[in-house]
């Protein structure tokens, strides 16, 4: 019993005992320390604008909250912290200062809220605006407040809401710490990942592709199509490129970039009546007597008529600009994404050999190509991404994908219509280039 009393006494004494934080601690743990200095300077400018004076107006014991109740809350010792840091979608950060006087003496009384000065910081324009004091009692007149209950005001977009502090624990801090709050403000804005909408990513990638060819008849004979079909077979090609990715909301990412690809095809053909001529030289020495040797050279030629197999590597090259929208999800370091979009072909080229109408193989290059279009138009893209965080700024991803081309790659004058749809796997890195 005595022990219980002793334990209870110790617990009571130590539970609420507070010690001062060591100097410089916040600088050490502040994730904004490595943020671009430009933004920091901007925020210091805010200080010069007199934000400190406004905060002092709020008086002792003021509460201080950054907008969007789902995303931000107040941490221990008045530190503004960001929750759901990878899923924040705040375009406007709003600081709300509130005197800590929303207290009634009797239970179930209607709150009598004080007028509140509102400091708004537009994160996009970095403009600070200070509104007149706002009388919130009108819009929240029927809010029940219990004795000694304090509230924290949240403002996100056009909505003002009050959240009971006991949901978050009570945090009290004095105006003398307003400089630290400015740092907290900096933290809340520059905290890595706190506003992914301001992030930019670059995604270099490369990977193998394989084309599946679809040929339909235009004016060609059946024999021609059969001959073409038996002569051509697709081989593994490659794709590479770089994307610029911009998160547009919590889960969606917009991407564009430059892609190049090369689809390979094996074209083997047989040429008949090939004549192979071989020259044969026969040398004979006739010794008629010692020192008298006769050297005879007979020259003859052998002509062989037959067929020859030739293999040519055909190359279909594309230069594309994609516009992709991705839906990304996942927890921890492993992320998944579904990407879909449109691919605008900028240039298409062919090098290799094709049959002409007489089934004779003819070589085609960039100058002589009149079979394939130089622009194959639009394609549709779909891919599934698996990504793994390597560090704060870099992700490794692998993305199996499929590209469906909407139009034929052959010119209208060609005797057949050909379209190649592409399956492949991209492997690349997503690198954050701007916070």
């Amino acid at each position: 019993m005595e022990n219980n009393h002793f334990d209870h006494f110790i617990r009571e004494k130590m539970q609420d005992h507070e010690s001062s934080m060591p100097a410089g601690l916040w600088d050490k743990v502040n994730p904004a320390t490595n943020a671009p200095t430009g933004k920091v300077i901007k925020l210091h400018t805010l200080k010069n604008w007199g934000l400190s004076a406004i905060l002092l107006m709020a008086g002792l014991g003021s509460s201080f909250v950054v907008a969007d109740s789902k995303r931000y809350t107040i941490g221990e010792d008045g530190n503004i912290v960001v929750t759901g840091s990878n899923s924040t979608n705040v375009t406007q950060a709003v600081l709300v200062t509130e005197t800590n006087t929303i207290i009634t003496n009797t239970s179930n009384k209607v709150a009598s809220l004080v007028k509140l000065p509102i400091v708004q910081l537009n994160e996009t324009s970095k403009q600070l605006t200070i509104s007149d004091k706002e009388n919130s009692s009108n819009s929240n007149s029927n809010y029940n407040v219990f004795e000694n209950e304090t509230f924290t005001k949240f403002k996100a977009a056009n909505t003002i809401s009050f959240v009971r502090n006991n949901n978050l624990s009570n945090y009290k801090f004095s105006s003398k710490d307003y400089n630290k709050y400015l740092n907290d403000l900096k933290l809340s804005i520059l905290c890595p990942g706190s506003n992914p909408n301001s992030d930019w990513h670059i995604e270099p990638f490369a990977g193998p592709i394989y084309g599946s060819k679809k040929v339909t008849n235009n004016t060609a004979t059946t024999t021609y199509l059969q001959q073409k079909d038996s002569s051509e077979s697709m081989r593994i090609g490659y794709a590479a490129g770089v994307n610029l990715a911009k998160p547009i909301s919590e889960h969606f990412v917009l991407k564009t970039g430059v892609w190049v690809s090369q689809m390979n095809e094996r074209f083997s053909y047989k040429t008949e009546n090939e004549i192979k001529t071989t020259t044969v030289v026969t040398v004979r020495n006739i010794i008629r007597a010692p020192g008298d040797t006769l050297k005879i050279s007979d020259t003859s030629s052998v002509q062989q008529i037959g067929y020859k197999n030739t293999v040519v590597g055909n190359r279909y090259k594309t230069l594309d600009i994609p516009v992709i929208i991705g839906y990304e999800f996942g927890k921890g370091s492993l992320k998944f994404g579904i990407n879909a979009g449109v691919i605008f072909n900028m240039k298409h080229g062919f090098e290799g050999a094709v049959y002409d109408s007489s089934l004779t193989a003819i070589n085609i290059n960039k100058e002589t190509n009149n079979v394939y279009k130089t622009n194959i138009g639009l394609g549709l893209y779909a891919g599934f991404r698996i990504a793994k965080d390597i560090n704060d700024k870099t992700q490794l991803f692998i993305e199996p994908h499929f590209r469906y081309n909407l139009s034929n790659m052959t010119t209208p004058n060609t005797s057949f219509n050909q379209k190649i749809n592409v399956t492949g796997v991209n492997v690349g890195l997503r690198i954050k280039i701007k916070d």
């Binding site: 005595e2 002793f6 005992h17 010690s19 001062s20 960001v82 929750t83």
Partner: protein, 150 residues
């Protein structure tokens, strides 16, 4: 939270390391806070766990003692009610690390012996015996203080 660290650390430098590591973890895992309980409690748990991890690096040894032989002296409530939180903190800090750890976790943080055993990878009996000895040592120190005061 600094007080929490000071209770576990052997000196203020170590406490500073603990609090720094703890807040780095708080920021790192902030997204995992579910708003289902007290935010302060969540941070406190991180701080306590961080402190334990710090102490574990020192390869703590919990020596078993005979529980029956370790019944502490009974100290009248009047002997310690005048003590302030700072005095108690100093007394707790004078405890051997193992005693201090178990005492903090059980008496102040409110963990039971099974939970402490799991956290520290020791037997529940070891936790109990460490607590008994810690309490006894504290009470003896309080008696000493009282004698000095008189």
């Amino acid at each position: 939270m600094m007080t929490v660290c000071l209770r576990y650390a052997t000196d203020s430098m170590e406490a500073e390391d603990m609090i720094q590591d703890a807040f780095i973890k708080v920021f790192k895992y902030l997204g995992q806070f579910k708003f289902e309980g007290s935010f302060e409690g969540w941070i406190r748990r991180i701080v306590v766990n961080t402190a334990i991890r710090h102490l574990e690096k020192k390869k703590l040894k919990f020596s078993e003692i005979d529980e029956s032989a370790s019944v502490g002296p009974t100290v009248a409530a009047s002997a310690y009610t005048d003590l302030g939180a700072d005095d108690i903190l100093k007394l707790i800090n004078q405890l051997p690390t193992g005693y201090k750890l178990v005492f903090n976790l059980h008496v102040i943080e409110g963990f039971n012996h099974e939970e402490i055993a799991e956290m520290l990878n020791i037997q529940p009996g070891t936790s109990r015996s460490q607590l008994v000895k810690a309490r006894k040592m504290l009470q003896e120190q309080i008696i000493q203080l009282q004698k000095i005061a008189v």
